[in-house]
C-alpha cells in the first residue's frame, strides 16, 4: 500500500469519528440547553465549545457567543477546523484521494454526508440542527457498516485505527472538560445539576442505557468516570479504544511486517490501564491523569505516522 494512501485512510477514520463525536455532543448539548430553566443549561454551550474546539479562540473580542452561534460554529463553520462541515470536507477529500482503497458503499456514505452538509447554510432552529445531526450520525453509521463489509485488509485496519485513536481522544477531552467545569467548588455532588450534566455526558458517548445495565447504583460521577475510562464493554471508553488500537496495530503488523514504536506505546498504555482502579486515578487527580492520557495519545499518533511513513 502507498504511504500516502495509508495516511489518507488513517485520517479518513479520524475525521469521520470526529464529525460523529461533534454531532453527538451537539445533540446532548441541545438536550441540556432545553433544561435551561434549571441551572444545568446555562453553561451547556460553553462547555460543548471547550470540548469540541479546545484551544480555539471563537469570539474574536472575547464576547460570549449565543447558543445559536456556538451551534453554527460547531456544525457548519469553515473557520473551525473541527466543525462537522470541516471534518466531512476533510474526510471526503481523503476518501476521494484513496477511492481505489475503499469499497463503493464506503465512499458513497462519505459523499452523501458531504452533499447533505454542504447544502446547509444556516441553522435557524433546534429542529433543523437535530435533523442535520441525525443525518451525520446516520451517515457515520453507514460508513462504519460499509467498512465492516470491506475486505479485512490493511486499508480497513488503518481506517479503524484512525477511528479508535480519535475516539480515545474525544472521550478523554469530554470527560476532562466536563469534570473540570461541572464540579464547581462547593456544588454538592449528586445534586440536580450533576444529574443532568452526567446524563449529557453519557448521551454524548451513546451510553445512557448501557450505564444502567452495568451500574445499579444510579448516577455517580466516579462511576461514570470509571465507565468511560476503564470499562472495555463500552465501545467509546478509553480502555476499549486502547484494546482496539493494540489489536489493529498488531493486525497491520502481521500483514505488512511493520511493527515498532507505535505498537510499544500502545501496549504500554493498555498495560497500565489494565492495572488501574478508578480510586487510584481519583487520588492522583483525574484532570492530571486525563491530561497525561491526551499527551500520550499525541505521542502515539506521531509514532503511527513515522511507523507507516505517512510523510
Amino acid at each position: 500500500m502507498l504511504s500516502r494512501t495509508a495516511a489518507s485512510l488513517y485520517w479518513l477514520g479520524r475525521y469521520v469519528e470526529r464529525a460523529e463525536f461533534t454531532a453527538q455532543l451537539v445533540e446532548a448539548t441541545l438536550r441540556l440547553d432545553q433544561l435551561a430553566a434549571r441551572p444545568a443549561g446555562s453553561d451547556a454551550w460553553s462547555s460543548a465549545l471547550a470540548v469540541a474546539a479546545a484551544g480555539v479562540d471563537v469570539g474574536a473580542e472575547g464576547e460570549a457567543l449565543s447558543p445559536a452561534e456556538v451551534a453554527q460554529y460547531l456544525l457548519l463553520s469553515t473557520a473551525n477546523p473541527s466543525s462537522i462541515r470541516s471534518c466531512i470536507d476533510a474526510a471526503r477529500h481523503n476518501a476521494r484521494a484513496v477511492r481505489t482503497a475503499l469499497s463503493r458503499e464506503a465512499w458513497i456514505s462519505i459523499n452523501r454526508a458531504w452533499i447533505s452538509v454542504r447544502s446547509r447554510q444556516h441553522l435557524p432552529d433546534s429542529e433543523i440542527i437535530l435533523t442535520l445531526v441525525e443525518e451525520v450520525k446516520a451517515d457515520a453509521r453507514g460508513f462504519e457498516g460499509a467498512l465492516n463489509r470491506m475486505l479485512h485488509n490493511e486499508a480497513r485496519a488503518l481506517i479503524a485505527l484512525g477511528t479508535a485513536v480519535e475516539r480515545a481522544n474525544g472521550t478523554a477531552r469530554l470527560l476532562d472538560v466536563k469534570y473540570h467545569l461541572l464540579l464547581p467548588e462547593g456544588e454538592p455532588v449528586g445534586g440536580a445539576v450533576d444529574r443532568d450534566q452526567w446524563t449529557g455526558i453519557l448521551r454524548t458517548v451513546s451510553a445512557v442505557t448501557a450505564y444502567r445495565w452495568l451500574y445499579r447504583q444510579g448516577l455517580k460521577p466516579w462511576l461514570v468516570a470509571e465507565f468511560l475510562i476503564l470499562r472495555d464493554e463500552l465501545p467509546r471508553s478509553l480502555m476499549a479504544s486502547m484494546e482496539r488500537i493494540v489489536t489493529l496495530l498488531n493486525r497491520i503488523g502481521q500483514r505488512t511486517g511493520m511493527q515498532g514504536e507505535a505498537d510499544r506505546l500502545a501496549r504500554r498504555q493498555r498495560q497500565s490501564m489494565r492495572g488501574a482502579s478508578i480510586d487510584a486515578l481519583f487520588q492522583g487527580g483525574l484532570h492530571e491523569y486525563l491530561g497525561r492520557f491526551i499527551d500520550d495519545m499525541s505521542d502515539l499518533d506521531r509514532a503511527i505516522s513515522q511507523q507507516f511513513r505517512f510523510t
Partner: protein, 505 residues
Amino acid sequence: MQDREVFDEVFGVGGDPRRELRALVDWIDRTPVADLKRRHDAAEAAFRQIGITFAVYGEEEAAERIIPFDVLPRVFSAGEWASLTRGLEQRVEAINAFLLDIYGERRILRDGVVPADLILRNPQFAAPIADIRPPKGIFAHICGIDLVRTGPSDFFVLEDNARTPSGVSYMIENREAMLRLCPELFTLFPVQPVDGYPDALLSTLRSVAPDRAANEPVCVLLTPGPFNSAFYEHSFLADNLGIELVEAADLEVRDDVVWMRTISGPVRVDVIYRRIDDDFLDPLVFRPDSMLGVPGLIAAYRAGNVALVNAPGTGIADDKAIYSYMPEIVRYYSGGEALLPNVQTFRCREPEALSYTLDHLEELVVKLVDGSGGYGMLVGPTSSRDEIERFRAALKAEPHRYIAQPTLALSTCPTLVEQGLAPRHVDFRPFVLKRADGITITPGGLTRVALREGSLVVNSSQGGGTKDSFVLGDRSTMQSQSLEGMHQSQILPDLFTDPPLGGSV
C-alpha cells in the same frame, strides 16, 4: 443551422425512421416523456452520489459538476461499426508509424510528405526524447479518435487524441446506468458489451512492460491528483484495473529505476499509465517548475527500466496543424487511402488559406492548433460580431496558431430536453488500444451531445452532455460474448432506486 439538411441518427434525413432503428422509435413512442425524465433524474442523482464528477477550470463555485446524461442512446449498426473499425485501426497504426518515424529515421520528412519545419519547430515535438525508442516501438497505446457524421455513411475524423484522451469511464458508467434504467432496450437490441475495456487496457499496459518484469509487471496509474478535472476517471480506471493510483510524490527515481513509496518500503514500478501531460512529467527534462512530475523519470524511461503509456512526444501526432496532413500520413504508411477522411482544413499559416479564412469567418470554425476542450475556438455561424472581430485580430497577429474548417452539419440524435424530445447535435469518441501484438477497439465509445439548441460545441467544459453508444452485434456472435457481460453489475450497485438526499442536490 436549422435550414440545412441535417442527418439524424434515428430519423435519417426525411424524418422516416431508419429501418434498423424502427424498434427504438417504437420504444420512444410508447415511453412517456415523464417516464424518460424520471429515469434521467435517477441516473444523474446516482452519478452525483457516486461522485462521477469533473472540475471546470476557472469556476470556483461549481468546482465539481456532473456531466449531464441523456437516456436516449445513440445506435451503430454492426455494419457501420465494422467499417468504422477498419478506418480506426488504419489511422492508429499510421499514427504510431508516423511517431516512430519522426522520432527515428524521419523518412517522411526526407520524402517531403510533411514539411520538416512543421515538425521540428513544433512546440509539440519533444526534442529531449527524440532519440528514445519506446518499448515494443509503440508510442500511442491509447487513442481517442473524435468522429463526426454528416450522412448515412459520411464519417469524418474531427480530431485525433493521442496524448491522454479521457472519457472512457463515461462509456462504462453510462452503460451501467442504461442497463439499470432502460433494461428493455437490451432485449430489443443485441448490444455489444463495453466492460471488456479495463481488461483490454490492462493487457495493453502489460504488453509493453520491460522484459525483466514481463511475467508480473507492476503497473500504476499516475494522476495529477484530486483537483484534476478527470480525477474521477483516474480513480475509476485504477480501481477497475486493480492497479495503484499514484501521485508524483509517491514515486521516486534512484539509479534510473522508478520506485513507489509504500508502507512496507519501496516497490519497483514497471509500467506507468500516466494521465499527466508531457510538459509536467519530469522537471529535469521538461518544465522545471512542474510540481506534478517525477524528477529522473525520463532517465529511467531512456534506460528502458519503465514504460510510459502513452509515450512522451505523442502530442505532435494530434497537433491540429499536423492533423491537416493526416490523409497524406495515412497514405504514406498504410499504402492506401485513408478509410476515414479528414474534415477539410485550412492551415492559416499558408497565406491563401489565411485570406480565405478571413473572408469567410462567419461560415467557418476556427481553432487554435494547440487548443483543446472547446477552449479558444470560434464557431462562425453562431458567434456574435464582437467574437468574430476578436478572432480576426488574433488570426492576423498569429496566423500560424490557427486552422479553420467548414462548419459541418453534424448529425443529430433525439435528446430529452426541457420541452420534451428534440434533435441535438452529437459527435463520437471511440477508444482504440494498441498492444504489442495488435489493436483492440471496444465496441462503444463516448457520444457527446450539445444540449443547447443548434449548438455544435459538445465539450463537457462548454455545457455538453453524454449518451450511451450502442454498437449492435449479430445475434449469433452475441451468444459467445454474453459471458463477458456477466461481471458488469459490480460497477453500479443499487443506487438508481434511491432518491437523492439532502435537499438541494
